[in-house]
Amino acid sequence: MKTLRTMLITLGALLIAAHPLVVHAEDITLLNVSYDPTRELYQEFNAAFAKHWQKEKGQTVVVKQSHGGSGKQSRAVIDGLEADVVTLALAYDIDAISEKAKLIPANWQSRLPQNSSPYTSTIVFLVRKGNPKGIKDWEDLVKPGVAIIPANPKTSGAARWAYLSAWGYALKKYDNDETKAKDFIGRFYANVPVFDTGARGATTTFIERGIGDVLVGWENEAYLALKEFGAGKFEIITPSISILAEPTVTLVDKVAKKKGTQPVAQAYLEYLYSEEGQDIAGKHFYRPRSEAALAKYANQFSKVSLFTIDEIAGGWQKAQQRHFADGGVFDEIYKPK
């Protein structure tokens, strides 16, 4: 008994000594691991959600952000980066977290509306003022002498969407003749002078370093560049058809459960579908899902005929195996210069 008392006193003394090290229990910190171009979107959304949560629950939420190439971010989570939520460029990267790290159930995509994709985007072209090379559609990007700047599809989510957009265009143009589509894609990537690993890097190459005639990338990134660097320098060209890009989001169940942040992390993702969340998405040039927000921002987006990944590649798993895995179509057609 005396020993027990002694141990309790010692433990108490140690706890008192360690008191300053204890984090204020009422603050909640979430980590959102996302891809490159969503920095600005989530800066505004995080502030809006924190305000909403404070009002609803009286708790302070701080959402930390981590950005990088979508595939790279996925690997970081698999390797132990403790994300409460992931908001990545493509579902395949979240599937990888589910399969390799078992942090997320396999049916994650059915847990939120619209296949867990609260906003969409597509692939467009950004050209220099006056469109000196006369770029109008995908066909123009494979002409000799045209330098195009997409990111590397091996490392970038946006680049995979861009690749599949070009592939989808070629399939439609050549009546699903894959040989001709491969030839088209081969000529497309033969016109790439520099390969960046991520979408934000490709934007830097095109805009800040002044390289190439066309930036092939996210629609939201193109509009953001136009807004930041001035419409007088660049123009957006919307091709005749492009892909419906669906960035996806999900809770990282095991991490959130361990950290005790599951309810707030889930609410965070659901808030992306709220009117405020949708409005913020539209404001940052993502295509909102809600009719009201879509209508509000309709004028900022050009009309484009969109096809889905299922239509042209049978979904992400098949697309990955067929095109981007080692020995896939991309490895076949692309030879580094």
């Binding site: 002694t6 141990m7 140690l14 000594a17 330098a147 690993t197 890097g201 370093r209 390289i211």
Partner: protein
């Protein structure tokens, strides 16, 4: 006027001629203004592309560097480290190959019942045997995670079987506040806290080896604080508690109670450049209150296993046992240790001094199974036999580096490594006086009137040992060291008349023969 018309006409003619010539040249395939601009743009793009590629290559190299573990292999360590330095694993090791040479007279405890090596001589001793031995063979694995959580496990293979020398976690929340838990050196003896590869003589003194605790299991808060121009190291621990000089080998403590340890050590001028910069002083203490009830279980074990009754045995510099308690004695009550300690290093000179006093409550028991085994009878305390015994020890160790290196509490770095004709490594001479004195009451019965029925037998165990040790260390390099020590120890008590048992008056007690030993060591540590 006519001249000006003439000049104008020539100019127009020349211009027309040159223009026609340029046009004719362009039509013949020469570069037009437009194609020159185009070529310029193309070259500009090529330069930009090359620059960007270089930029991307550099970024890729930087990123690869951030993610690439660093492998370090140097004379002091082999480690794998994450690029940001916050995680690493380090491998270290030490091997000490010793030889012990004894001159006539170096003995084990007199009249031992288990004759371990040969017959006893006429005085009840057998001479200690010369031997080669591996004193330490340790592999040390140290890991740091997130820059602040250290884990260390050290396995010692020297005894022929693997044993865990250290296994602890150190959480470094702040330099001023760290928590260590597991098996570690108790923060008590200064000489003990000095690394096994750094101690100046082959064996530690009576203070560290005999009276103060070695490694124990438990938890300790420790750290260092600003103090004058230097710092104050502190440590407060709660451990199982081991007997004097003890090294806990299992998770079982003697009676379920814990021992408190406290240690303060100041180096107030360590950041100065004055002559006091190498001065450090402090004090340590331990306290436990051990009921002897559970120790009764261990009193019928062999005499060689003397520490299992909660009481220690003590050994000489030559590692021969010169004192052990009676098998009827058990630790029963409080045990308090105090130890003032200091060191001073200046230039090549180093001095380390330490004193220790232990107050050990003991009682006598009766019964139990006889040493040879058998049923025996229940063990019980003999009433009114409790006594607080006061033992003390001290030492002063002086070292001097003949080759001019700077002395310190840590190891020696030779200014030049040994290489025939090029360098002789570092040479150091060391001297130590160390003595231990046991309470006179230890050797008398509880009433203090008879030498029989005592807590220890004065004709078998010495009451005092005084050792003078001289040594030479040769540091061939930072990793390799050769050492030779000569040690001479004199005793009070510890022997008798032939093999006759001690009489009640203690008139047939003699001094144990002097121990003279030469200890040598070849040490490799990395």
């Amino acid at each position: 006027m006519r001249k000006s018309w003439l000049f104008g006409g020539v100019l127009v003619f020349t211009s027309i001629t040159l223009g026609l010539a340029a046009r004719a040249h362009a039509e013949e395939g020469g570069p037009s203004q437009k194609s020159l601009e185009q070529r310029f743009d193309e070259l500009d793009q090529e330069i930009r592309i090359l620059k960007r590629k270089r930029e991307l290559d550099q970024e890729a190299a930087e990123n690869a560097k951030k993610a690439t573990p660093i492998v370090k292999y140097s004379k002091s360590q082999f480690s794998l480290e994450s690029a940001d330095g916050s995680n690493f694993i380090r491998f270290r090791g030490i091997v000490q190959a010793d030889h012990r040479l004894y001159f006539d007279g170096a003995n084990d405890i007199r009249n031992r019942s288990d004759q371990r090596a040969g017959d006893l001589d006429v005085n009840g001793f057998h001479d200690a045997g010369d031997s080669w031995l591996i004193r330490r063979a340790r592999l040390d694995i140290e890991t740091t995670l997130f820059g602040k959580y250290d884990f260390r496990i050290t396995t010692d293979f020297a005894q022929g079987t693997a044993s865990v020398a250290y296994a602890y976690l150190d959480a470094r929340f702040d330099p001023a506040f760290k928590i260590r838990a597991g098996k570690f050196k108790s923060f008590v003896s200064l000489e003990r806290l000095q690394g096994a590869s750094d101690i100046k003589l082959i064996e530690r003194s009576y203070v560290a080896n005999a009276l103060l605790p070695n490694r124990d299991l438990g938890i300790a808060a420790h750290g260092d604080l600003a103090f004058f121009q230097g710092r104050l190291d502190y440590a407060f621990g709660l451990v199982n508690g081991v007997s004097d000089g003890g090294d806990i080998s299992t998770g079982t403590e003697f009676d379920g109670r814990k021992e408190f340890t406290g240690w303060l050590f100041a180096t107030p001028f360590v950041n100065d450049t004055s002559v006091l910069s190498g001065l450090g002083f402090g004090a340590a203490a331990t306290y436990t209150d051990a009921s002897g009830e559970r120790n009764l279980n261990f009193t019928d074990t062999t005499p060689a296993d003397a520490t299992r009754n909660g009481l220690p045995s003590y050994r000489t510099d030559g590692q021969n046992t010169f004192f052990r308690y009676s098998s009827a004695a058990v630790a029963d009550g409080a045990r308090i240790r105090v130890s003032p300690q200091a060191y001073y290093y200046i230039g090549s000179l180093g001095i380390l001094a330490e004193y220790a006093r232990v107050i050990q409550d003991v009682s006598l028991t009766t019964g139990g199974s006889p040493p040879a085994g058998g049923a025996g009878s229940n063990t019980s305390f003999i009433p009114n036999t409790g006594k607080a015994l006061r033992h003390q020890a001290w030492h002063v160790t002086v070292s001097y580096l003949l080759t001019g290196e700077t002395a310190s509490f840590k190891g020696v770095k030779p200014s030049q490594n040994f290489d025939f004709g090029k360098g002789w490594g570092a040479w150091e001479v060391v001297g130590r006086y160390s003595e231990i004195t046991l309470d006179e009451d230890t050797f008398k019965d509880p009433t203090g009137t008879s030498f029989t029925g005592a807590y220890a037998n004065l004709s078998e165990s010495a009451q005092r040992a005084r050792s003078m040790t001289l040594g030479v260390n040769w540091y061939l390099n930072q990793n390799l060291r050769a050492a030779v020590n000569y040690s001479e120890t004199r005793f009070d008590g510890g022997a008798g008349d032939g093999v006759a048992p001690i009489n009640a008056a203690g008139t047939n007690v003699a001094d144990r023969p002097d121990e003279r030993a030469v200890l040598t060591r070849l040490q490799f540590a990395f």
